[in-house]
Amino acid sequence: MGGLGRVIWVAGVVVAGGVVAAQAQTVDAITKKLRETGSITMGYRETIPPTSFLDESGKPAGYSVDMCHSILEAIRVQMKLPALKITNVPVTLQTREALVANGTVDIECGGTVNTFARSHQVDFTPVTYVASNQFLALKATGIKDLKDLDGKIIAIAGSGSSVKDLDDLIAREKLNVKLLNVDDHAAALIAIESRRADAYFSDNSAFYGLVKQSRHPEALAIVGPEIGYAPQGFMIPKNNPEFLWMVDHQMAKMFESGEAEKIYMKWFGPYGGSVGPKLRAAWETASFPE
């Protein structure tokens, strides 16, 4: 059949392209670029305040962006570069990994959860933030804890990383709930505000931005226990051991000196956040002696 032949042919071309692309790797491309041109590309997220977002003036801002600026400035001093030119590249959930893997972005300053599956593909810096899953619900639903969820509809980003935690929770607590798939945080907010769903189960670091974005923030509540451990870090392309070492080193200094906590409180303090025990432990673990 001609159709099948065409399919095999296309698949063959794609695989061959992949093999060629995978072989073109150089070690320490980022530090080489820094030395030669004094420039670096920083990836940021546009819509996750207060972690990484565009501020009113249209510039990247937030906790991750400040952390990265501080790290990069320290690296500039260490490498004795006269000036550092930072090019900002916006990334999304869909593009972040590809842009880091293909070298468009040298350091991704968003909020990406570090997992072993992912760190096979890109390198991660030490932990910058520890998220867990929680429920966001309208106060009017009366949901305050897990037991109030009986017979309710829970919105979940069906292709996100909270799915497994929710499945486990439902099985463990024998929850009688219906699930509603949503595509992203914004759709989830509409779903609970329009009563299509009663609660949204997600990474709670997203809730700050969602509550802020809502037209009736006072009607929303973050409820239930914190579930799961989702440590976030910045992504760096593989094969950059020198750059990764410098970043690890500078971050350890920021953890020890209290600078990291100061930046954390600047952005999360207004939301009532503080450095929790898990994040504190991660920071202490990453602070190796000189």
């Binding site: 995978a22 790797q25 959930l93 590809a98 293909n102 070298g103 292709s159 996100g160 009563r195």
Partner: protein, 230 residues
């Protein structure tokens, strides 16, 4: 490029299962919306050639409206806006109790968009046979409505089967839009795998090939139907 290829994500559990389930939802949305497209598009296309001015006006308003608004916008309107315009009880039913809410909404939204295109194909098919055969049919003693029902309609529809292949492919491709309202179809599941494993190239390659296979399959099926009808 610092990318480690790992084609095993395509069959390793649970990712292989995600792809298959995505394929299932893609087929369901494609089939659902194509059924809606035919169910609405055929009558609308026929209405567009009936001798009544009123039915022609209805058909042309429908086609103008549904063909001119981007299908993604239509999908959002059906999902986010229409339920809130309904009376409270009906709106809440659509939002909370309707069976397969995302699949149903996606089939209706994509189907009604594709119906406008189907209607135009049907109208064009009827017009093509009408010019040649209507005078002949009338001369043979048939009344206008009989000529329409017995001659123009069967011959006109037969002509449309070929162009309808294109419309079936359109609904297949538009089915990927339904991820925006939470249908975990093929594209959504590829993103799911990408997000989970960071092996996006493998996942999207698999999706591309599966879409290609569905597309070529649809073309083959429509080709058989067209041959049978000749």
């Amino acid at each position: 490029m610092n990318y480690r290829w790992d084609w095993s994500v395509l069959w390793r559990e649970p990712y292989g299962g995600w792809l298959l389930s995505g394929l299932g939802w893609t087929l369901a949305v494609t089939l659902g919306s194509f059924v809606v497209a035919l169910a609405v598009g055929l009558p609308m296309g026929i209405a567009g050639r009936l001798p009544s001015r009123a039915t022609r006006a209805v058909a042309s308003v429908y086609v103008g409206l549904f063909r001119s608004v981007p299908p993604l916008v239509q999908l959002f309107l059906w999902y986010f806006v229409i339920p809130d315009l309904l009376p409270d009880a009906a709106g809440m039913w659509v939002k909370r109790d309707m069976p397969y809410p995302e699949l149903t909404t996606a089939s209706v939204a994509i189907g009604l968009f594709a119906a406008a295109r189907v209607a135009e194909q049907v109208r064009a098919g009827l017009l093509a046979v009408e010019q040649r055969l209507l005078p002949v049919a009338l001369a043979s003693g048939l009344r206008p409505l009989q000529a329409f029902r017995l001659i123009l309609l069967p011959l006109g529809l037969r002509r449309v089967i070929g162009p309808l292949t294109g419309e079936a492919l359109v609904t297949m491709k538009l089915s990927s839009l339904s991820l925006a309202i939470g249908v975990l179809e093929l594209t959504a599941q590829s993103r799911h795998i990408e997000n989970e494993t960071f092996q996006g190239f493998e996942a999207f390659t698999a999706a591309t090939i599966l879409y290609l296979v569905i597309g070529l399959g649809l073309t083959a099926v429509m080709g058989v139907i067209a041959r049978r009808a000749r």
